[in-house]
Symmetry: C2
Subunit: 344 residues, 2 copies
């Protein structure tokens, strides 16, 4: 490959040093973000680099300094529009701090998570924020414990030594379930995702706690887990509503699964609101603009992204901070027309 | 930084060579993807590396080989759920070929596009696929012409020497407008995005062509451009429907802008279908599950992602292929209940 030869780079470090009126070693220290460099000195050198058109060779630089100025964010998939709020905010904070955010999808598979961690390590990524498909997976935990760079978990818990940013899904599910119980529903069905991971596990807890608080036993046959795609939500809804002993309320707790559920109800000729109340586990244009509008749980994903980036930056700077910090953003319930008292 | 020292790497290239029964230079050639390495030899060396737990130092390797095995994809934002289909498919093809896909957002700003191109170059990214905020922007065109790696444009045209993958938005807009004209509409409003970029420019052309084919002059006051956010769509809809001389049909041609438009109509107490027909420029759960369901334009974003990855891989291999290849996927119109003959 001739990439190298096609990259003109006639400006040398010594030219920058001369232009800035400093020693070559000072330019080096600036390039390597050495802590002893004053702000004034840094700015003088950076101005000289800009004036001369000096281009930092990041690859060569990371060979020397052992760092890449890359932060990686690995999530299951990029098809959840609200998650873009997390990415946008995290990227803004990281860019401000001089880092490029690299995104990758885990496709919710432990082997991909492990191989991404390996790839990040090889590329000397400075920090990682990620979700996990299964917090108890032994090989994933091993890979996390061996990672040479800080890893922050997104909406995951249970790997004690790692920082994490979570939403209070238990609270959200407790609010949603309590709201439905308060309206008089006794047969509440629930669709959740992978209960090996924090969000669905927490939602199940909240669901049970709300029932316990009302002195009512939930019917476990009305709880469907592993709802991870629109097709899963369609099938689970069709199976719940097609059987005997159907629920009077449906809590679609898994994120972004409302579409599949509503598609099944439409196919079956079941209107939302009259015979069946529906509550969505995350807000969306679809929930807000549906007829009737869908009662939804909401939380601040932009704040999660901001906190994730700030906490990871602190950890990457190696500040003397305790291990395993956790930050939780609250959830709230937006009550709309899709949740009503049960018919009869 | 002590990342380097924390990375145990006692297995050397010479150990791999001994294990595989080959010369050290052969291992080197495998690591650098040298074209003379046979498949059998490659597999033997890779097996030895796996057995010994040899970890390729990609940074060091890319220093030597001048390549990083990274492909970057830069798009405006990650909040368009259907675009995840493009990314997912492109990533699968690239992963299969041994590349890691790095994603970044341009926030639709030329300066960010230029600085990302610079960052990709510094990191020796092997290939780039990206959108552009303004195909005519002089500095962006300059940066593209200086890029040392192949760049493929996503849904952009006009930069002649670059490969591109586009959707036939002109055809989609022609179908949608022709459908509304055929129903009897004569006052058709249109919301488009940034007309400096290919998709909106093409949609405008299709809109005008359909009018010309029907021998009808479109009212240019009913065309609103620069609709780039949900809030823009809300305001444009409110302004169109709040004035005198309101349209009988609204073609929300910009991608993913239906939510803002429907929110404005709801606020104004205007029902879709009766007094106002609506056609969406891209399909979504919201369009499909709205009451009434919204007539929409649709195209195969997964196929676009697949073709983009394949064309970029070909270019990166340096195959002897002509410059500036273009591939266009067709668009179709899904007719639903939101488009009806005008009242009276």
């Amino acid at each position: 490959m001739s990439l190298q030869s096609r990259r003109p780079q006639t400006v040398k470090v010594r030219d920058v040093a001369r232009e800035a009126g400093v020693a070559v070693g000072t330019v080096s220290r600036v390039l390597n973000d050495h802590p002893t460099v004053t702000r004034e000195l840094r700015e003088r050198v950076e101005r000289a680099m800009a004036d001369l058109g000096y281009e930092v060779d990041v690859t060569a630089q990371s060979m020397r300094a052992g760092r890449s100025r890359l932060v990686a964010c690995a999530i299951r998939d990029f098809d959840i529009p609200r998650f873009a709020l997390f990415i946008k905010e995290a990227e803004a904070v990281l860019r401000e701090a001089g880092y490029t955010l690299l995104l990758a999808s885990t496709t919710n598979r432990p082997d991909v998570e492990i191989s991404l961690l390996r790839a990040f390590r090889r590329r000397r990524v400075d920090g990682v924020m990620m979700t996990l498909s299964d917090e108890e997976h032994r090989d994933v935990r091993q890979a996390l414990s061996e990672a040479p760079m800080p890893v922050l978990l997104i909406d995951r818990d249970c790997v004690g030594a790692l920082d994490r940013v979570t939403a209070d899904h238990r609270q959200g599910a407790r609010l949603a379930t309590g709201h439905l119980l308060g309206l008089g529903h006794r047969r509440i069905a629930m669709l959740v995702g992978d209960t090996k991971a924090f969000p669905s596990r927490s939602r199940l807890e909240g669901f049970r706690e709300a029932h316990a608080a009302a002195g009512i036993a939930p019917d476990s046959r009305l709880v469907r887990d592993n709802v991870l795609s629109s097709e899963d939500a369609y099938r689970a809804t069709a199976s719940l509503m097609g059987g005997t002993n159907t629920p009077t309320a449906l809590f679609v707790a898994a994120m972004d699964m409302l579409g599949g559920c509503l598609r099944a109800l439409r196919t079956m000729g079941l209107a939302v609101g009259d015979r069946l109340s529906v509550v969505a586990g995350s807000d969306s244009d679809l929930a807000e603009l549906h007829t009737p509008p869908i009662t939804s749980i909401e939380w601040d994903l932009a704040a999660m992204g901001r906190h994730a980036a700030i906490m990871l930056l602190e950890r990457m700077r190696g500040d003397e901070i305790e291990r395993g910090r956790g930050l939780t953003v609250p959830t709230e319930l937006i009550i709309r027309g899709s949740s009503r008292p049960p018919a009869n």
